[in-house]
Symmetry: none
Subunit: 253 residues, 2 copies
C-alpha cells in the first residue's frame, strides 16, 4: 500500500484554538477557516475583529460550519483564558522582541506535546501590524515561519495554513525518541496567569512600587515575566493565595 | 545564538518552477506569487490562465517584481519543457489516479534532491477541477498535502505556501536541538534564590500567611517552588525589588 493512501496517523488538533486578533479583512477570516477545516482544527476565535469582517467572512469553501461556530471576544485575555499554552506568531524582524522566539519547526513540536494535555492558543495578528506588544505580553513564547529576510510577512490565510500543516505533518520519528517526564504537571491556564498579573499589579500599586505614569508598561512587563515562569497550575494557585493574603494585610490598616 | 535568528540554512529554490495551470482567479495568482516571494522561489509560469487573470493579478504584496517576471505559456508541455522532474499536486481522492502518489513530506524530500541538479516543475491545477488527466500525464508523479479526507481541497495560494514551506523546512539534525531564548539569560545564583526565599518568608510572615507552627515546612515548600521556577538573574532581581517594596509598605504602619 502506498504511504500516501494509508489512513493517516494525524495529530489531534481538537485542543487547538486559532485566535485571530484584530483581523480587518473578511477574506482572511474565511481563508483561515478553510485552512483549519483542511487540517482538522475546529475552534476559531476572533478578538475584536474589524467592523463587520467577522460577519462578512466569505470564501470559506467547505468551512461554513466552522465559521458559524467561531466565537468573538472583546479582549485577548478572555479569548485565551482557558488555554495552558499561548503562542504568538510573528514575522519577528520588525522590532526588539522581548520574548523567546522559536522557528515553526521547533515551536510546532512543543505545541504538539502540549495539545495532548490541554488547550493551546495560536495567535495571528492583524494584516497590517501583526500582534502588538500588549498582545505579545499574553504569550508564553513567539513563533515564526522561516520566510525570507527580504520578504518575511505572509498573507494571513497562508500563514495559518503553513502553521497547521506543520502540526499535522509526520512526526513519528521525533516522538519515539523523546523521553517523557514521569508525572506531567498540568500547566496554569492563561486565565490564571492573567488573574495573577492583575493581583500582583494591585498589590504593587498599593505598595507604591508601580508608578502611575508607567503603570501600563509595568503591567506588560510583569505579564511577560509571569508567562516566562511557565508556572504549573498548583504553583499559580500558591502565588494567588500568597498575594491575596498580602493584599488583605495591606488593606487592613 | 538562537536558531530562529541565525542566517538560514535554506534549500535553494532557484531551480524550482511553480506552474499554475488554467488558474481562473487573479487573487490566487497574486497569492501564489506572494508565497513564492516569502519562501524564495522566483520563477512563476502560467499555462493558459483564464481570460485576464494573469494581467489582473493583485494582492501580491511584495511580489510585484516576481509577477512582472512571470511567463505565460499556451500549453503545459511548453511550460515544463526544460524541467528534469515534473510533479503535479492533487487532493488525490476524487478519481482513480494512474500515477504514483506521494505525501508532501516524502515528495518534498525527492524534490529537494532533484533541485540540486536541475529544474523542477511543481504544478497546481485550476481552482474548480485541479489538474486534468491530460495535465497529469505530463507528470513524473503526483503529490498531495495531508489534508482531511472530509475536506481535502485547499485554496490555491495556501497550497502553494504549504508546499514551498515544506521545501525550505529544516532537515538538518543539528537544528533540531531544543530552542534557546533569543538572548541567553544568565540564571540566578542559588544565593539569590535563597535571599528571595528569606524575603518572601518575611513578607508572608508579616502578612499572616505563614503559621508559626508550620513555618519551617512552609519555608521549604517556598524554596522548592522558587527553584522550580528556574529564574533568570534579572527576574530574581525583579522579584527582590517588588518584595522589598511590599515589605517596606507593610512595616510603614
Amino acid at each position: 500500500m502506498d504511504p500516501a493512501s494509508q489512513p493517516q496517523r494525524r495529530n489531534n488538533l481538537d485542543n487547538l484554538r486559532v485566535v485571530l486578533v484584530a483581523t480587518r479583512n473578511p477574506l482572511n477570516i474565511g481563508a483561515a477557516a478553510r485552512a483549519m477545516s483542511n487540517f482538522g482544527a475546529a475552534q476559531l476565535r476572533a478578538v475584536n475583529p474589524y467592523e463587520v469582517a467577522f460577519r462578512e467572512a466569505r470564501s470559506a469553501v467547505g468551512a461554513a460550519e466552522l465559521l458559524a461556530g467561531a466565537k468573538e471576544y472583546a479582549t485577548l485575555a478572555e479569548a485565551v483564558a482557558d488555554c495552558r499554552l499561548v503562542v504568538g506568531t510573528t514575522a519577528g524582524r520588525r522590532r526588539e522582541l522581548q520574548h523567546e522566539l522559536r522557528r515553526l519547526e521547533a515551536g510546532g513540536r512543543a505545541i504538539i506535546r502540549q495539545l495532548k494535555t490541554g488547550p493551546v492558543a495560536l495567535l495571528f495578528g492583524s494584516e497590517k501590524v501583526g500582534l502588538s506588544n500588549e498582545d505579545m505580553s499574553h504569550c508564553d513564547w513567539l513563533m515564526r515561519i522561516p520566510t525570507r529576510e527580504e520578504h518575511g510577512s505572509m498573507n494571513l490565510g497562508q500563514a495559518v495554513a503553513v502553521c497547521l500543516y506543520e502540526l499535522v505533518r509526520e512526526t513519528a520519528k521525533a516522538e519515539e525518541k523523546r523521553p517523557r517526564p514521569a508525572v506531567e504537571e498540568p500547566k496554569a491556564q492563561a486565565g490564571e496567569i492573567e488573574r495573577l498579573t492583575q493581583l500582583l499589579c494591585q498589590v504593587l500599586g498599593a505598595s507604591g512600587y508601580i508608578k502611575p505614569r508607567v503603570a501600563r508598561a509595568t503591567e506588560e512587563k510583569l505579564r511577560r515575566m509571569l508567562h516566562r515562569l511557565d508556572l504549573s497550575a498548583s504553583d499559580a494557585e500558591l502565588w494567588l493565595g500568597m498575594l491575596r493574603q498580602i493584599q488583605w494585610k495591606l488593606k487592613d490598616r
